[in-house]
């Protein structure tokens, strides 16, 4: 009872109070909608413009999801390779770090030129932003196996492959899921930022382009409506990944055990 209250009712009330204050401030202060629209106007715009906003949301989510998937595949594969071979880790990890610390806005134009395909370049940008937390967290997990358990596997002659499968990978799962939660948000941010840089219009364009477009046309309420959608998508991704983590860990890992979803 009190758990459900603090989880859902408390943030909902805070949100409602803030929205109400915003609406009142906008109305009593006479702030014009092209400076700051009130929440009611934004909601109405959201409904009215759903026809253009919904496909944009789908396009952005598609890029974010594909980028996250690629981040998982490449991040986990590299983490496994790096922990199996010191030599590979030493020669490749510095470049992964270089990718991670390079501001995406500064290389996005280059990627767009090189990739020569809007969707592909957006995907690459979002992937670059998203993959490092998965790589570094999974590496940390693969390496933090109890050394006595490693001794036990050695005693039973388990070999590299079975030690990886039965010991290192399961031990890395909580770390990987922690990285995945960070990367989920980053994939969305990466997709949006790349869209801004690309500024690509047309039928397949995403939310960022709709924001730019609304800005040029001074349709400020639509800008806000698109922003609301991006935030909602971020929250949805977070909740989805938190649920996945809970599902996989609740029975054995202290971070999730004994917690309700």
């Amino acid at each position: 009872m009190s758990g459900a209250w603090s989880r859902f009712a408390a943030p909902a009330i805070v949100g409602l109070v803030v929205l109400a204050a915003w609406e009142i401030a906008v109305r009593t202060g006479g702030v014009p909608p092209y400076i700051l629209p009130g929440p009611l106007l934004i909601a109405r715009t959201l409904v009215a413009d759903w026809g253009t906003l919904a496909p944009a949301l789908v396009a952005t989510l598609r890029i974010a999801a594909l980028a996250l998937l690629a981040a998982v595949v490449v991040g986990v594969a590299l983490a496994v390779l790096f922990t199996q071979s010191r030599w590979l880790e030493r020669s490749l990890l510095p470049y992964a770090i270089v990718l991670q610390v390079t501001p995406i806005v500064s290389i996005a134009p280059l990627i767009i030129v090189w990739a020569n395909d809007v969707t592909l370049s957006l995907l690459i940008c979002a992937w670059i932003v998203a993959f490092f937390p998965i790589l570094s967290n999974t590496m940390l997990g693969l390496n933090s196996v109890d050394h006595n358990l490693l001794g036990l596997f050695q005693l039973y002659g388990a070999g590299r492959w079975r030690t990886l499968l039965h010991l290192r990978l399961p031990a890395a799962l909580p770390y990987f899921l922690g990285g995945l939660r960070i990367s989920g948000g980053l994939a969305l941010i990466g997709a949006v930022v790349a869209e801004f840089v690309a500024g690509a219009g047309g039928s397949g364009s995403g939310l960022a382009y709709r924001i730019l477009e609304a800005g040029y046309q001074l349709k400020i309420p639509r800008m806000f409506a698109a922003l609301v959608l991006i935030s909602a998508a971020g929250i949805a991704i977070h909740l989805l990944l938190a649920a996945l983590s809970h599902l996989l860990l609740r029975r054995w890992h202290d971070s999730e055990a004994g917690r309700a979803l």
Partner: protein
């Protein structure tokens, strides 16, 4: 030069074994020890004297810097119980016990059957599906012992297995360990820092000095008496405790 060579099944022989770690720590200094197949030997010594090092060398997990170790058991014929239960947190009690069998490629049905039998044997019937985090410290230790014994090893190495348990649990596990030893005829090397525990369990007690670990006393214990709760108050037990304490005091002084 070090090498590992076969001794008679279940027997262990160490000849002039030295161990210096890569950072220069001399952990073991010239240890020679013959352990007969099927015997129960305790290794006792102050903290940091190299007991774990010795056990890990016998198991073949680390190699001696010098000397020779002959173990009449290979890899999977050795059961190892660590100071902590060292279970897979993502596997049930049954799956943990079955782990050695699984890594050996035993089929699922057989694995399950043998793991269940072994769990029942250590008094954990009905806890097959429990996760490690749901078990008490003593129960986790029982799972760990069941795992070490599930493939009927010739040699069982225990590294202060009951150090973290309360006295009541420790006494019960001591008695159960003795039962298992008698039933299986396994060779037991039991590392402990408890004089009482070693005097209660062993046929023979090897006392080590502070680092670098050397053997300073090798005491035989009268084996005729049955080791039950009454034994804990017997004069023979008291006498053994005194002899071991004296030897340990000398070891610390040396």
């Amino acid at each position: 030069m070090s090498e590992v060579r076969a001794a008679p099944a279940g027997a262990i022989a160490l000849r002039g074994v030295d161990k210096t770690y890569a950072n220069g720590t001399r952990a073991i200094d010239g240890v020679s020890l013959e352990i007969a197949a099927g015997s129960f030997v305790s290794v006792l010594g102050p903290s940091g004297c190299g007991k774990s090092t010795l056990l890990r060398m016998i198991a073949g997990l680390i190699v001696p810097t010098d000397g020779r170790i002959e173990t009449g058991a290979r890899g999977r014929e050795i059961g190892f119980v660590f100071q902590e239960p060292t279970l897979l947190p993502w596997a049930t009690a049954e799956a943990n016990v079955a782990l050695p069998l699984r890594l050996m490629g035993v089929d699922a049905a057989d694995r399950r059957e043998r793991a269940r039998q072994m769990l029942a044997r250590v008094g954990l019937e009905g806890f097959e599906g429990a996760w490690p985090r749901e078990l008490s410290g003593g129960m986790k230790m029982r799972v760990s012992i069941a795992r070490a014994l599930v493939d009927r090893p010739r040699v069982l190495l225990l590294d202060e297995p009951f150090a973290a348990l309360d006295e009541i649990a420790r006494h019960r596990l001591n008695a159960d360990l003795l039962d298992l030893w008698r039933e299986t005829g396994v060779t037991v090397v039991f590392v402990t820092h408890s004089v009482f525990e070693s005097a209660f369990l062993s046929q023979r007690i090897v006392v080590m000095s502070a680092r670098p670990g050397r053997i300073v006393a090798d005491l035989a214990v009268d084996t005729d008496q049955t080791r039950d709760e009454a034994f804990r108050t017997s004069p023979a037990y008291g006498a053994t405790c005194r002899r071991v304490s004296d030897a340990l005091r000398e070891a610390m002084a040396a």
